[in-house]
Amino acid sequence: MTRVAVLKGGRSLERQVSLRSGARVEDALERLGHEVLALDVGQDLIERLREIAPDVAFIAMHGRDGEDGTVQELLEILDIPYTGSGVLACVRATDKVLAKHLMIEAGIPTPEFFAFSETAFRELGAADALPAIEERLDFPIVVKPSSQGSALGIKFARSAAEVPAALVAAFSYDSRVLLERHVDGRDLAVSILDGEPLPVVEAVPLGDEFYDFEARYEIGRTEFVCPADLPDGVTEQAQELALHTYRLLGCSAFGRVDLMFGADGELTVLEANPIPGLTETSLLPQAAEAAGISFDELVGRIVELALERAPA
């Protein structure tokens, strides 16, 4: 029997989703016969982890602290094996600007973008460059915070007049934001488990023009199709791109790469998530199931991978 500490909650804006992911993981671990200790991450995290001395930590946290390498770093210091990607991969993946630069360098197609820090606007007069950017990207322009994992803070600017407010909103979440070319097309997600891409999931928003935060986590707001019904070769191509991105960023054990299948027939990679959601409506569990891997098996595999990676 393995002693597993499930890390969940915390101060991230995705706290609620994380609590749901965590609860589901705890149930699965118990069914698998593990000793489970749930931790709502806070001030006493180190103290609690030392007290519990788990064999492995299951990180069921999303967004800040959980997905950006912070908790991973702490677990390294404590010498506690943990699930999912290591510190470097988390740092690379959660920083969308860095991840996109790496993708471009590696020849992975990603929508054209420009990134700015708040100081660039406040101190370097970056606002004067906006008209040139707007011309280059065409409207609507997607404006998003660099590090927010969920769809929070993502705005569509349909005209130049809407850009400043969209930037102010995005800067609410991060000191760096991206202005990105909007890709008209279909939302795809490729989850990866132990270096193997799982069947592609397509998220089809019902009614709304934008795959928004609410829709992501609500039954009945978005229809998920898995495996996605795509033209010949596109599935393989999407899986290949996703795997390439996952490896490029240095992810391990599991992860999810979000792509767009443009109306022009081109695939582009939007971002990679080192700790995708594990709730009832999350995409990784759906993809795993389509591949014949139950949620319990998925959780079991993730724990095994963490223990295998740990130095004996």
């Binding site: 929070l152 930037l167 609410s172 979440y173 199931e289 949620f295």
Partner: protein, 451 residues
Amino acid sequence: MTTSRDIERYAALFASRTKVMKSSAMRDLMAVTARPEVISLAGGLPDTSTFPPDTFAAVAQRIAEESCAKALQYGPTEGLDETKTCIAQVMAAEGMRVAPEDLIVTTGGQQVIDLVTKTLIDPGDVVIAEGPTYPGAVPVFSSYQAEVVQVDMDADGMRVDLLEETLDRLERDGRRPKFVYTVPSFQNPAGVTMSQPRRRRLVEVAHARELLVLEDNPYGLLRYEGDPPPPLLSLDGGIYVMYLGTFSKILSPGIRLGWVVAPPPVLEKINLGKQAADLCTSTLSQLMVQAYFEESRWRDYVESLTEVYRARRDTMLDALADHFPRQAEWTRPAGGLFIWVTLPDFIDTTDLLARALRDNVAFVPGEAAFLDGRGRNAMRLNFSGSHEDAIREGIRRIGEVVTEQVELYGTLTGEHPAVRVEEPPAVEDATGHNVLRLPKRSARSRRAEGS
């Protein structure tokens, strides 16, 4: 084991009304506000910390000695007569006369909104509400698939002239609204109070058009200045006005005790609905109210709450004047628990909340008070649930992030608005007719010089 296939199976079983019972980004953000290090001006909580524990003990003792078996038993659906007598006293304090048979005791005021909607609304029926409206009423209306039409307010409460226009428009479309939902005194969330002429006119309109009105009055007794206008119920005589009362803000929200007064045929249906919902309101809670009314002077406690809240309101108004940029406007409530702040329209308060949470402070984004996406540049602030130091510090922190965003916007647009460089002149504007700019008096004036 729950798999996504199971989820799909459940999804097929959900009633269509659950489609509109949705979570929101905001609700997920609100999950963070519960953390202990966060100064939350987001709740609607009364301060229960000043309630004397020995009174609580005496109440419990009295019930144990005098009515133990009864307190542990089911009670009549409509409520205990002993409790109704206490309710009659509370209503008399606000100038209303009711007999025990005119009312039903409910599980909090919230249940009244639910039961009234359940009694009157078929899917697609129209409910008229104020804009902004009580955020807690929104999911109730949604769950009965009501179509909610919101009527703008100004500093004198709901614009009854606009209500009439709305009613005309609906009539032309062949639609007849079932009821008007209003919080006429110290409205949640706007903090404004409906003027006496508006109240009279609203009752006239209800009579002329044979339209029911649900008067939600949780805060009427929490008045910090001025004289109370008459309740709609007393103006109408109980023909078209239904009345919602509650002990939540004058005694305790934890006992979950409210009541509804309605015309007899409506009350009868509400009673049947209540029976189906929960058989009866907690007998223990009802007897606690009775014992409390016998043990102590309930009005003294309300008076003490009023003192505490008045000071907190003043602290918040002062802090707003000190820390918010001149582009912000806010209401100046004469009672109740809330202040409504309107920011420039380029600020989205849901995003602002995410930013504010980094500084450990929270408020309710205005979008929660609208069903049509309005209110995105507004916020509701609660002053009853926090101590004065926390209010001052919380407002300072929110003011800082608002100022930061105003400045950033100025930089982005090249307008470079000068933030808080000088006090703008206090312009009196009685017309304040835009709901998103509530009210249009000089929000900059500190309370001491306020109108």
